[in-house]
Amino acid sequence: MEILQQLWQIICDLLRDSGFGKLSWENYVMVGVSFILMYLAIKKQFEPLLLLPIAFGMCLVNLFPDIMGMPVTQMLSEAELIKKGVDPASYTTTVLNGQTYYNYTEYGGLFYYLYQGVKLGIYPPLIFLGIGCMTDFGPLIANPKSFILGAAAQVGIFLTFIIATVMGIFTPQEAGSIAIIGGADGPTAIFVTTKLAPHLLGPIAVAAYSYMALVPIIQPPIMRLLTTKKERAVVMGQLRPVSKLERILFPIIVVVVVSLLLPDAAPLVGMLMLGNLFKESGVVDRINKTAQNELMNIITIFLGVTVGATATGTVFLTLQTAGIIGLGLFAFCLATACGVLFGKIMYKATGGKINPLIGSAGVSAVPMAARISQKVGQEENPGNFLLMHAMGPNVAGVIGSAVAAGVLLSVLK
């Protein structure tokens, strides 16, 4: 009988410690959301490199929340330590009311430690280093007017900032962090949020990366709505070839100009341009390959799973998060619309030589936003190749969003 009772007790304890006993309904909802994101990543291939780790991190943290658990230090007596089967000699002691206690530390979960790279703002500049190694600034150098489209798309950030502030439920720092989602630049959004509103890092990072992944769904309707068939069919002239010297000088000049004018943007722009200099100089091939492959992939895995792991059910399913997600989407749509509208202005100003569709690529989701310009352009004219033209505003958008981040940081920090 006693054996049966003990067996029953073990089964009850196991059930209590299992996910069924510990998880709340919010966790199950978030697991469902993660499955949808996994479907979009695998079946629809929406930025799978980002979306898949995010979705899996989201799934894992909601099934096992302790994977994101912080380290905890307890003061235990010698007897308690011995009961745990550990040697008291390896712990520091604290004397309290004449009684000696041992500082026993329970280490945090795996994702907690990986998340420090996000929290301390280490991963975003490293991601920018890899992006710099993979980015060809040639189209931007060949057609510097593209910078204007990169700036136009940042208008969405500042207009969203106004709206978030007017709503009255967010502080200016929180509003700035939410507005930067409009830049469609995950690393920049994380970088700004860690400095301005670290408590909102989870929802903002998930929103920023989700919208970047959902660019193929969000952008095309806005682009079609704001342009005519004739404008979308414009075939742009070939870009001039750019010499190696121009390519080498570009990152050096940009980093000097931006760092002098906006020092807060220096970590992001600096690493972006360092990566690009690795690529263009052609003398550090090994470093270039490592930065754009191994390093970039490792950081992407760490960033993806830990950003996803911030979306725990109890934290994520709140009205404030709903507000952030809604405002983030608004910022992103507004940025796309502003880019296209500026593209239309340039279309008129150049007598129809510029296809306004490349304006939407001014949001910095590289290279997805440029590929969307290409896709929508080809729907009107299958012989139209806008990709390289759209890469100009696209990479200008990366610089533009880093500059906008610098403005927000310098004013709101």
């Binding site: 010499s243 010297l245 403005v407």
Partner: protein, 126 residues
């Protein structure tokens, strides 16, 4: 100062700074591109002149051939003979009907079917 006024000031400051920095970059990129291009062109020109002079020195007995460049210069890159041939072909088609050739321009380099298929394949978004 209330939060909304502060937000509007930030909006204006943001517009001004972002556009100023990027316009400054446009100017800098445009200027240095021109400088680099002109310096490189000058270098190339000097090199080719030097090479031509060296060639001339090496082969003093080579016959001098005078190219008929007058028509080519008059019509940009398209030689006058080709324009004449095109005009003759147009005249042949139109016959006595009144017609006028306003311009003869080189068309953009057309891609072959294979090249076009390759570009389509490499730039297909999804």
């Amino acid at each position: 100062m209330d939060a909304i006024t502060q937000a509007f000031i930030l909006l204006l400051a943001g517009f001004i700074v972002v556009f100023t920095v990027l316009i400054l970059l446009i100017l800098i990129v445009t200027v240095y591109s021109k400088i680099v291009t002109s310096v490189q062109n000058k270098g190339k020109k000097g090199k080719s002149e030097k090479q031509a002079a060296e060639k001339k020195d090496d082969s003093p007995a080579a016959p001098i051939v005078t190219a008929q460049t007058d028509t080519a210069e008059d019509n940009g890159e398209i030689p006058g003979e080709i324009i004449a041939a095109i005009a003759a072909a147009v005249s042949e088609i139109y016959g006595d009907k009144p017609h006028k050739i306003k311009a003869v321009k080189k068309s953009r380099a057309a891609r072959s079917a294979w090249s076009r298929a390759g570009v389509l394949d490499n730039t297909r978004p999804f």
